[in-house]
């Protein structure tokens, strides 16, 4: 199952996506990731203000059966977290690229974006998985 891979996003091998709006990156997990996880029942998010390094683990997404670590694609400071996920974690399944966003980070180093996978590269990555 390859699922939906929007062209305008960047991706990591660990199945996170990032959408850039100005100097802020919005981060979530991909359609492929939510499908393999199953019904999401819990999302653990970091505190606003936390400073993250690229590829640092910043939280977890849990289904009934599993705990999955999530990693930040870029370095930056957490400026917003999706508090809706506290009462409606299933949003991650239903809308992984829109309503299911997890954190927003202020980019410390926009050049890092070039090191991430583009849609074609990510689609290939999950095809080969």
């Amino acid at each position: 199952m390859s699922g939906n891979v929007p062209a305008n996003l960047r991706y990591t091998k660990e199945h996170e996506w990032i959408k850039v709006e100005g100097n802020v990156g919005i981060v979530g997990i991909t359609d492929y990731a939510q499908h393999h996880l199953g019904d999401v029942v819990f999302v653990e998010v970091p505190a606003v203000g936390r400073v993250l390094k690229a590829h640092e683990q910043f939280g977890v997404v849990e289904s009934v059966k599993t705990v999955s670590d999530i990693y930040c694609p870029v370095s930056g400071k957490v400026v917003e977290v999706n508090t809706e996920l506290e009462n409606a974690p299933e949003t991650v399944n239903q809308s992984p690229y829109e309503g299911g966003w997890i954190i927003k980070v202020e980019l410390a180093n926009p050049a890092e974006l070039d090191t991430l996978l583009d849609a074609a590269a990510y689609a290939k990555h999950i095809e080969e998985a």
Binding site: G38, D39, V41, E44, E62, V64, K65, V67
Partner: protein, 375 residues
């Protein structure tokens, strides 16, 4: 070294119905089809169909069959009437658990032991070893596991779905924990048919010839479709049994834990009149009192307890979680945990260490979900 996973007679069926296959105790089994929560809810509200063909069946026949069972089993098999089933455990000399089992009495000198899939080889060796050591020769022991398929249908509508398929049995008259042999199900002559299960709901377990399993599976799904019967995988099987306070070997019971610590003392018949392996150790533990107890916990802080997470009190690790999840029926984060006896009272507050943080939980009553067995 990679071992090839075993497949049940329903492997092709699982693929056909969209099962997501995973390794489980040496078997390739479906963890889910449509989704764990959806399957869990279907069992609680309508019915679910489970492949349990990986379980083991040992046949014991002959005048000393009962003697062997009484020796290895903690419960009192002498009380079984023909057609009756009982839950029990086999223990080592030190009282820890070999496996939990069902004992079926199928005839005057005819019994079955049904054992967990992951323990078949160990249990078979154990039962043979015990028979030999005790000099019990007037019996036949056979491992039927490779020849027997098994399907479980569980849920409040299970009986309604089954009745038209078993025209020679009045299901209203088949009591909980009773069995029949040779029941024709959907035109197939089954081997054993029992009103038993592992979900906390009414239901049946059908033991059939391996070659009939796939056709039976399809017949059942077809008959149950209008009632909302769905195939259900191991994921839902685990959340269902856990809510109903049913133990799982390797979690609540193991060769490091005794039935008394696991709260299963009801099944340990110290006074049954014949000695059994582990009796002395269990009697001594009962006398002294257990040092640790299995309790149900509910999270107070946000988080989900999982197997292996530590339980702490005032900064010291005092126990461990054996099973934990977010309960689909109760919509709460709950778990089973071993804690010191002193902390096992209802309402007692403990910490669960989740990713390095001590999150608060409290001891609650179990079962979390009140089973609805056919009584």
């Amino acid at each position: 070294m990679e071992e090839t996973l075993k497949r049940t007679p329903l492997y092709e069926m699982h693929l056909k119905y969209g099962g997501r296959m995973v390794p489980f105790g040496g078997w390739e089994m479906p963890v889910q089809y449509s989704g764990v929560i959806e399957e869990h809810r279907a069992v609680r509200e309508a019915a679910g169909l489970f492949d349990v063909s990986h379980m083991g069946e040992f046949e014991l026949k002959g005048p000393q069959a009962l003697d062997l069972i009484q020796l290895v089993s903690v419960n009192n098999a002498a009380k079984l009437e023909i057609g009756q089933v009982q839950y029990s455990l086999m223990c080592y000399e030190n009282g820890t658990v070999v496996d939990d089992i069902l004992v079926y009495r199928l005839g005057e000198f005819h019994y079955w032991l049904v054992v967990n899939a992951g323990n078949i080889d160990k249990d078979w060796e154990w039962v043979n070893y015990c028979a030999e050591r005790a000099g019990l020769k007037n019996l036949e022991l056979q491992n039927l596991s490779p020849e027997i398929g098994q399907i479980a249908i569980q849920g409040p509508l299970a009986a309604k779905i089954m009745q038209p398929l078993v025209p020679n049995v009045v299901l209203d008259e088949l009591k909980f924990y009773w069995a029949k042999t040779g029941v024709t199900v959907a035109g197939f002559k089954s081997v054993v048919f029992s009103r038993t299960g592992y979900t906390g709901e009414d239901g049946f377990e059908i033991y059939c010839k391996k070659e009939d399993t796939a056709a039976l599976w399809e017949a059942l799904l077809e008959a149950g479709e209008e009632y909302g019967l769905v195939p259900a995988g191991l994921g839902a099987r685990d959340t269902l049994r856990f809510e109903a306070k049913l133990p799982l070997y390797g979690h609540e019971i193991s060769d490091q834990l005794t039935p008394l610590e696991a709260g299963l003392g009801f099944f340990v018949k110290l006074k049954k009149g014949t000695d059994f392996i582990g009796r002395a150790a269990l009697a001594a533990q009962k006398e002294k009192g257990v040092e640790k107890k299995l309790v149900g916990i509910e999270m107070i802080d946000r988080g989900i307890p999982r197997q292996g997470y530590e339980i702490a009190k005032d900064g010291t690790v005092v126990g461990v979680v054996t099973t934990g999840t977010f309960s689909p029926t109760l919509q709460r984060s709950i778990g089973n945990a071993y804690v010191p006896a002193a902390l096992s009272g209802l309402g007692s507050e403990v910490d669960v260490i989740i990713r390095g943080k001590a999150l608060k939980a409290k001891v609650v009553e179990t079962p979390f979900y009140q089973p609805r067995y056919y009584r």
